[in-house]
Amino acid sequence: MDSFALFVMILKINNERPRMRIIQNLKAIPKVQKFRYGMILLASMSLLGPLAFLPQLVGSDDLCGQLCMRRFYLYFPGMTWEDFFVHVNAATIGVMAFALILITTLFFGRIWCGYLCPVGGLAELSSRMLNDRWKIEFRSLPQVQIRYGYFGFYLVAMPALGVSACSLCNFITIPRLIEAMSGEYRGMIYLVSSVGLVNLALLLLLGVFASKGRAYCQFLCPIGAADSIVNRIGARLPFAHRIRVAKERCTGCNICARDCMCGAIKMVDKIAVVDQMSCMSCHECVDVCDWNALAWTAPPKHKHNSPKRIKKNTEIFPLPDWQAIHITPLKEEAGRALPQISGVSIFNSMVFLTVISVIIVGSFL
């Protein structure tokens, strides 16, 4: 085929001028999301790369050593509290940062993960530059089960098998990748090594080429796993800001579920439901919703389902019940059978039981 004819054909298909489209697309990004992308870039500039401004304050040029947030809670067989405190002391700053992350999560949701984390954030940003058509959709997988199955494996089985937790760590890979891009020798050599190549493949598959780029955070990140437990536990507390749904306002248009980068929003009975085990409070669903059915707020002060008031013969509807947790009542539906045993549930329980038994047996040895 003549290349000129192809070019003409492409021009014919394209109705508008391409440059205008790019500007339009950029303008279409909601304000909060622009702020979020900026925060991620800022955090990654100060935490990674040739500058590594924040790590250098404590004399490190990457996120390892004293800054490591991922290693101190590993359980080695027969470990005592003394050993644990040795691990804690070896990574003092990492432990403090980890505690800070958990505390902010309790109050404001997973701010670190969504707004600051350079490791998940850079993968997300680079994924957002690619077209959604060419990606792998991980969001529909049972992410809570996979995440905690891997988390248990990471905490208990990996130390017992002697696999270094550092060999599957994005907190090494991303700094090294940035180093390699800035021409540093260490980074290049890491990426060409076998460990580096495996990690790079993970980063590409679960980050850049994953839909919305947060699959690594969903499945493999131990910080995220611990963080989301806190997120879920704190969801009912009166001061906790979370992404909440006003069920009566939701029209079931499912735009939020499509745009949610963590796959935390699921349409249950045509109403958006936020899974606090995986929500990152990135605020995108709030920006996208035309009906103000989602908001990042603390729980309302008024009683749940409080009765309507009638004032001067006009019905005043209750304020929205901002619900963070949605549990489908099993009792109400008499016809529906209780959850049946499936292959997935057997697998999950097996993983859970092995982890528990290894911990119990290990503590006796």
Binding site: N14, W134, E137
Partner: protein, 443 residues
């Protein structure tokens, strides 16, 4: 007038006498060696200095030991260089007051004799053979690591002064007597305050030699059984470089007390001189003993218990993780462009270019406001997360179905399966699962 002048003179004289500290020199060596500029040029044409700064010596570790206690063969004057030989394993003349036993470095020498550095000199050390040793000997002698450093390290001086100021009241209640306080009070306080060296300095000692890669390449290691000598492995040559990249090394470099220094793992017990090869069964770094040596106090205590074999087998001098092997020899073109890992980068890069260019073109020319589904797992997402019934998402799937069927048509056995699944799907929700199967290979 004269009287008062004389008195003033006496006071001044007294002052000048008191000002200069006096150093004990029973052998009278300092009467010559204290002179500045006592220099000579030796047989090899090297400029040497024989001057001994009396104050410097007196404040050193051996400051209270008279010269002839070590330089025993020096009897008459002038003496020859050969006569100044020192035997570090010989007993010293200092007696501990409580036991009355003469202290000796022989214990350390005996321990050193078992180690990999056993061939190092410990006697016959003179000023003359210093250069000869450096050039000829592979194993370190006592003096290569231990110089006669200051008795109290500079870093600890303040702390020591503070403690010494009230030692007479604190310790002196029980330990009375001038000899005790003068001679041993300081010694015990010094030990009490803590290690003379921190871990960084400890490691620096090992790295002085082991950090020199070119020198380490020339080391000849001895096989224990056959006693044959062989050149060292690359792992041995690069050991200090690879150590610096591990968590142990990094923590110490950051001045954390939780890093493990070289001796902490290689000679944890005794006088810290028994560094054996990891192939030696008595070695602390032998695979069988790793549980004990990793599980020392304040380290990985759990390794003494079973189930941690995998943890202890972590290679702390691994060349592989950071590709340290290539750090010593700069990468050649062959290493870089022709390595298998590098070759495997090409398909990744190709895929990346296809993705980036493809999606750029898509973004500029084809992007519409319609919902875009991911190629892999997009339909599942629609079904599970959005809750859309499979019928609608099948609109696209049905358009593609004929392609599959065309391939299937020539084989008669598969044909009945197709229609059978479609009929089930309409009636029961469970049949969805069977229906998916033809979809998945497409995705």
């Amino acid at each position: 007038m004269l009287r008062s002048f004389l008195l003033l003179f006496l006071i001044l004289l007294n002052y000048t006498v008191e000002a200069g500290p006096r150093y004990s020199d029973p052998d009278g060596c300092l009467s010559c060696h204290a002179y500045e500029g006592l220099n000579f040029i030796d047989e090899n044409g090297v400029f040497r200095s024989a001057t001994i700064d009396a104050s410097h010596y007196a404040s050193s570790l051996h400051g209270s030991v008279p010269c002839k206690d070590c330089h025993r063969k020096v009897i008459d004057y002038p003496h020859k260089v050969e006569n100044t030989e020192v035997d570090c394993s010989a007993s010293c003349h200092i007696e501990e007051p409580s036991e009355g036993v003469k202290y000796s470095h022989d214990v350390i020498h005996e321990e050193m004799d078992k180690s990999v550095h056993a061939d190092g000199w410990y006697k016959g050390l003179t000023g003359g053979n210093r250069l000869q040793e450096l050039e000829e000997e592979q194993d370190p002698s006592c003096r290569r690591c231990h110089s006669n450093t200051a008795y109290i390290a500079d870093a600890q001086l303040e702390k020591f002064k503070e403690a010494f100021a009230h030692a007479e009241t604190e310790c002196g209640n029980c330990h009375q007597g001038k000899a005790w306080m003068g001679q041993f009070g300081g010694h015990i306080l010094r030990r009490f305050i803590g290690r003379r060296w921190n871990n960084i300095e400890n490691n620096q000692l090992c790295i002085q030699c082991h950090g020199d890669i070119e020198a380490m390449r020339e080391v000849q290691q001895e096989d224990e059984k056959t006693l044959e000598k062989h050149p060292p492995s690359e792992r041995f040559v690069q050991s200090s470089q690879s150590y610096a990249k591990t968590l142990h090394g990094r923590l110490i470099a950051a001045d954390s007390e939780f890093g493990a220094s070289c001796i902490d793992c290689h000679a944890p017990d005794g006088w810290k001189h028994e560094i054996r090869a990891y192939t030696d069964e008595k070695s602390a770094s032998h695979p069988d003993n790793l549980g004990e040596s990793c599980g020392q106090s304040n380290c990985h205590g759990y390794t003494k218990k079973p189930g941690n074999e995998g943890f202890t087998m972590t290679d702390m001098h691994s060349l592989s993780l950071l590709g340290l092997h290539s750090f010593a020899k700069p990468l050649t073109d062959k290493d870089l462009w022709q390595s298998n890992w590098f070759r495997s980068m090409w398909p990744l890069m190709a895929a990346g270019i296809v993705f980036i260019v493809g999606s750029l073109i898509w973004w500029i020319f084809y992007r519409t406001d319609k919902k875009i589904l991911a190629i892999l797992g997009g339909s599942r997402f629609e079904r599970v997360m959005i809750g859309r019934k499979p019928k609608k998402s099948k609109a696209k799937a049905t358009a593609r179905k004929p392609r599959v069927e065309k391939k299937v048509v020539p084989t008669p056995s598969v044909e009945p399966v197709g229609p059978a699944t479609i009929t089930k799907e309409a009636s029961e929700p469970e049949a969805e699962k069977t229906l998916k199967k033809p979809d998945e290979p497409e995705a």
